[in-house]
Subunit: 503 residues, 2 copies
């Protein structure tokens, strides 16, 4: 066996171990009896630790060295070179953290998560602050261990974990453009007559919701021979293999959009993972290339498709037939406006398509300032509330509805938040590029035709797995890298019509 | 860390890997989309292979050597000595098979399974015969590798895999006694007026069956905080941890007893695994001690409890309330006789409590003769049909309904069949011992009280895990080892009443 084959074999073992852990985690969130938590966490720790040991073994490093030499004649785009490049990247990340730091990080985040839960329950930021202090200090250590050349590079290094190749400066530039366009749009909407969506807050049979959501997911090309949907407290998608990508959802029996758009969102993630070329099976290439690009896929199907008028032109009669009492007397346009209602609010995960991005910006600016040292942990609530007032025109009445609402920082996820909005921006760039190639997508959707769009995404994005970075993919497909323009254009056009704003 | 702790840590890792594989197998049988089979089989192979490598590593052997020395002062019954003893046994088994034989066995059984499926479909034994020949030859090699001192020891060695410490001679002796008592009983029943169970072949709502079965399982002490029931093609129970033992069942919408007694059977297995002392968590002791003892637990709850008149004295009114149309007009005694209907048949898995054991004997005698060389593979159908005629008074019209009905031999499971009837015999021995301690159990069951019996089983059998062999447990609890007497006594008493036979 040559060393490239030996490397592939080793990586397949690591992949299988990680995916076995994913199955155990999926079970934990869907079916596991509650009394099994302790045993399950031991099993997961065992799998994660074996996977880590296997991957970071010196032998992996030696095989990688050989592999660089044996693939040096190949094009940079060649999947085998990409495999070596991506594996080297993961290997460096996995081996550069000293064991002491890994262990301290695990302990600190475990405590921080508990402290965050208590702090949120008690609406008492002071309980969380010392833990946040510690997590940020360790995140800085982590950035330095990953090779941050200077304190100014630290946030880039952390962001790079989730969005390879993207820099904080690039994000900040596009976010500034986005904010400049969004804040006036939100203000204009606030000044317009408001949309009434009260008829969506009514009893909707859960099984009927479930079936309708799955019908649409299948119309998007999600194949139940290689996937399934289960219930969980928090919706997610998870990959066990390219041939087994599952989604979960949570149905709200009193509010139809919650479960339905959740299903579409997770379907978007799942179609990405399902679309990766089978040539990359059981390798580090067999996954979406970044969190931002992943989120672009979920947003595309949830928002650009699922909240479009064309989509409902086709599907609304079916939905009315499923829920005649609730929707039989509601006209398509009234329904369409209701599912696109915009209203500034305090909680990110409940925010609409427009204001959502402003929530993300607040977090990005605060965590970047914390890492760069220009903001003290004690001042986070004030910074948070000030930014909310500036961007959204609302001030959270409590920290529970403010800086204590998200779990991310307690888990040490720093550099993660911006990827939510990166996904939003990328989704509009890709949608525009697809329209360039396929013609007006509304015409497709209005006829109930979604597969050409899915095939386009597969050809241009999905199949490549991690061969190219998100920026490389955008440049190949759209001609430019990250760009806030297309999404702003999309949002302005859509909401000008919905809220009858002066153009 | 001393070497005993190091051994425990190593064994915990192996346990976690095996249990992760169990979760993946459970998912495969319950929820996995059909297109994921190939990827799943790779993942399972990876987990099994890592577990095997970790367990059979020389380091395990070295730690075991140290552990023998450091525990030599302890009583033989001491759990730590038992841990070392049981682990040594498993280690010897796992390391004695040469890699070549493991690989040949895997290939041969994989082919044999396919050939068996085709042969059964075509009712053509000649397609299966060469594969059975090969599997038996490799089983003999396996027995020799495990240390069979002479050809006469081979079957003992194979049986020992599933029923540690039991010998073929011991099995044959008790089976002979059993057969001598059973054949006339079956004949007497055949000569009596037959029981009519046609009213059980009717539509029974699946959800109502499901709920009733789970209610009874919980009354037996099966706790849904540490277990759950799902659907699968073939019912099974599976252990992910002492705190997470699950069952599956298959509901027949046209025949109530199928799913219900399946649930009770698997509940019996699950209560055993759930009852193991938490001191043995994540170790080789954390499991039932043998297949026979395991089967005794499933048979106890399915038959001695679930098919008893006392049980239905308590539960039948509830069942009638659940199925008033089907059972409202059926008297308890009519129902009781119907669920205990005895009728010689061709298919083991559909056999009643009485004739079941004769099916098992046919297989035991044939596989033993094959291993000992006194029967040729080509002569199996004749031997099978002859024994069926002798024991049950029926001759299978086809090999599909005869020697081709079971999957076991194609998988290389030789020495496995007898444990089904060993379980039957042990169940009656334990039931008798429990009555000695608790008084007439029928009085408990008729009041709906099942937990004292479950607690008795936990104290005397379950909690010990693999510390004692089945024979040791029987000797401790019943004063003697394996004994066919109590079950024969139970069967004679029960069926004399049901069929109104001359005593």
């Amino acid at each position: 066996m040559n060393s490239l084959d030996a490397l592939r074999t080793r990586l397949a073992t690591v992949y299988d171990l990680n995916k076995a852990a994913s199955v155990l985690e999926w079970d934990q969130e869907t079916y596991m009896p509650r009394g099994a938590a302790e045993a399950r966490s031991q099993q997961l720790a065992t799998l994660r630790s074996l996977s880590h040991a296997h991957f970071t073994d010196d032998e992996t490093g030696a095989l990688l060295e050989d592999a660089h030499i044996s693939t040096s004649d190949l094009d940079a785009d060649h999947p085998t070179r990409a495999l070596v490049r991506v594996t080297q990247r993961d290997y460096d990340r996995a081996t550069r953290l000293p064991a002491r730091l890994v262990s301290e990080f695990a302990t600190a985040t475990s405590r921080a998560k508990q402290a965050w839960q208590a702090a949120r329950a008690d609406d008492d930021y002071s309980q969380f602050a010392p833990h946040l202090e510690r997590v940020m200090a360790l995140s800085i250590e982590k950035a330095d261990a990953f090779g941050a050349a200077s304190p100014r590079d630290r946030y880039d290094v952390l962001l790079d974990e989730y969005e390879p190749g993207m820099t904080a400066a690039e994000v900040a530039r596009e976010f500034a453009e986005l904010r400049a366009g969004l804040v006036p749009l939100v203000e204009a909407i606030a000044g317009a007559p408001q949309v009434d969506d009260r008829f969506l807050h009514a009893p909707f049979d859960e099984d009927a919701q479930w079936a309708f959501g799955l019908d649409v997911a299948q119309a998007f090309g999600y194949d139940l021979a290689h996937g399934r949907q289960d219930r969980s407290t928090h919706p997610f998608s998870t990959t066990f293999a390219i041939d087994d990508v599952r989604i979960t959802t949570r149905i709200d029996s009193q509010f139809f959009p919650s479960g339905f758009f959740g299903t579409l969102h997770e379907t978007g993630h799942a179609l990405y993972e399902r679309g990766v070329s089978s040539d990359y099976a059981r390798s580090p290439l067999a996954s979406g290339t970044s969190l931002g690009m992943h989120e672009s896929q979920s947003r595309l199907w949830e928002n650009q498709v699922g909240r479009s008028r064309a989509f409902w032109h086709h599907w609304y009669p079916t939905l009315q037939a499923v829920f005649p009492t609730q929707l039989g007397g509601v006209a398509l346009d009234v329904y369409y406006r209701a599912i696109n209602r915009v209203a500034p609010s305090f909680i990110r995960v409940e925010a609409d398509e427009v204001t959502y991005n402003l929530h993300v910006m607040v977090r990005f600016e605060i965590e970047r300032a914390l890492i760069e040292g220009s903001l003290a942990v004690v001042d986070v609530p004030e910074a948070w509330n000030g930014a909310m007032e500036d961007y959204l025109g609302v001030t959270p009445p409590t920290d529970r509805e403010g800086c204590l609402q998200d779990i991310h920082w307690s888990l040490g996820l720093v550099g993660y938040f911006p990827t939510y909005t990166l996904g939003t921006l990328m989704s509009a760039q890709l949608f525009a590029a697809a329209q360039r190639d396929l013609g007006d997508l509304a015409n497709h959707f209005a006829r109930g035709s979604f597969l050409p769009f899915r095939e386009w995404l597969r050809a241009h994005i999905h199949q490549h797995g991690r061969v190219h970075t998100a920026t490389e993919l955008l440049e190949r497909v759209c001609g430019v890298g990250l760009d806030a323009g297309p999404w702003l254009e999309y949002a302005r056009a859509k909401y000008t019509l919905i809220y009858d704003l002066a153009a």
